[in-house]
Symmetry: C2
Subunit: 224 residues, 2 copies
């Protein structure tokens, strides 16, 4: 390795830097979930991660910037799981398109939801951050950018998913995607509000199953 110091060192440095960023994001998620996004201090995050404030600021300009990096990572996982669902679930479907009734769509939605990670903590953290964004024009502008970027990626996946079963959206696919993500989020909020004694994920899935199939069928039509 010592024969190529100029090429290798930046790679090592970059890997170390990425590891620091990951640890800060892990710590931030824990602290945000425990204390709330508003109450969480940068000190609490760095202390949890075992780093100095200096390490924090050499990686993120602010708590907001850390949130957006965390949000990219969390939503990236969710998009990857959705892609896995498309790759794994659709080839197993024997159902021809014409028999895609609401019950069949509900089964598919359910299988996709089962692939998603536990959403309780992330949903609370994201909700708190968005609520803060409602009061800060600067954060709001960045929040919209972030949301649009995620939804654009999601829209492509959803177009592929409905296309696979011979359907297409009757409205703009980004618009349809926003409707679906809003309702899926609400399904999780309702599950969290139902209290600590219920299994949030199971209830969120049951809530989504009651809502999403009708909306998906309502916003799509057969391609043929």
């Amino acid at each position: 390795m010592t024969t190529q110091p100029v090429d290798v060192e930046p790679a090592v440095e970059s890997a170390r830097r990425q590891k620091t960023r990951e640890r800060l994001m892990d710590a931030a998620f824990d602290v945000f979930a425990e204390q709330g996004v508003h109450a969480a201090s940068i000190e609490a995050v760095t202390e949890r991660a075992g780093f100095t404030r200096g390490a924090f600021y050499s990686n993120f300009a602010s708590k907001e910037e850390l949130f957006f990096a965390l949000a990219e990572r969390e939503n990236g996982v969710r998009l990857d799981r959705l892609q896995e669902g498309i790759d794994i679930i659709f080839p197993t479907l024997a159902t021809p398109v014409e028999s895609l009734d609401i019950e069949a769509v509900a089964e598919i939605v359910d299988r996709f939801m089962l692939l998603q990670p536990n959403d309780r903590h992330w949903c609370i953290v994201e909700s708190e951050f968005r609520t803060l964004a409602l009061r800060s024009p600067e954060v709001a502008a960045r929040y919209i950018d972030y949301e649009t970027r995620i939804d654009t990626r999601l829209a492509r996946l959803l177009e592929e998913a409905v296309g696979t079963v011979g359907l297409r959206f009757t409205i703009d696919s980004l618009q349809a995607t926003r409707i679906i993500t809003t309702l899926a989020q609400q399904a999780t909020y309702d599950a969290i509000l139902a209290g600590p004694d219920v299994a949030t994920d199971d209830l969120a899935r049951a809530n989504a199953r009651r809502v999403l199939p009708a909306v998906l069928l309502g916003l799509t039509e057969p391609v043929a």
Copy 2:
């Protein structure tokens, strides 16, 4: 009046009490909107209203109870305006049911939205309160009760509204109502996030117009 002291005095007392409650709710809405629901103290509310802490606690057990009273009042106004819309707008429609395409539905949605009061501050306050509820099982339980009560009243109005144009929901009307309120709220959030330089109400209406007609048509069918 002095001839019927037993009957009149409770009525006078009750009117005075109601006036005190209204003033506390007005003050709370202002303080919640300015400082945020979490940061707002009972002291700040009573000071704004010109009352003592004693007056507060003889009317409301807590900040949460005051929020729910305020929420009943705010949503009551919105439901009344919706009823007005049904009474005023539908009789003017020349459109027969069979020509109710997406553009015609969009026009109707737009006219209904124009009747609604300015939603920016209320939407932020409600969002903050719901976010707090996500972390407090006790508040969450009361939040769900309140939301279900409002949505049940709204569901009856929406059933009447779609029935008037010869449609009915293809899913449970309470479920359809939850979908519509969630998406209408999101339309307002997106308008607020778009920044202080835009007219929030106009943008919220434009956002709702892009989303609600397709969903309304997707979740209804002709009665005939």
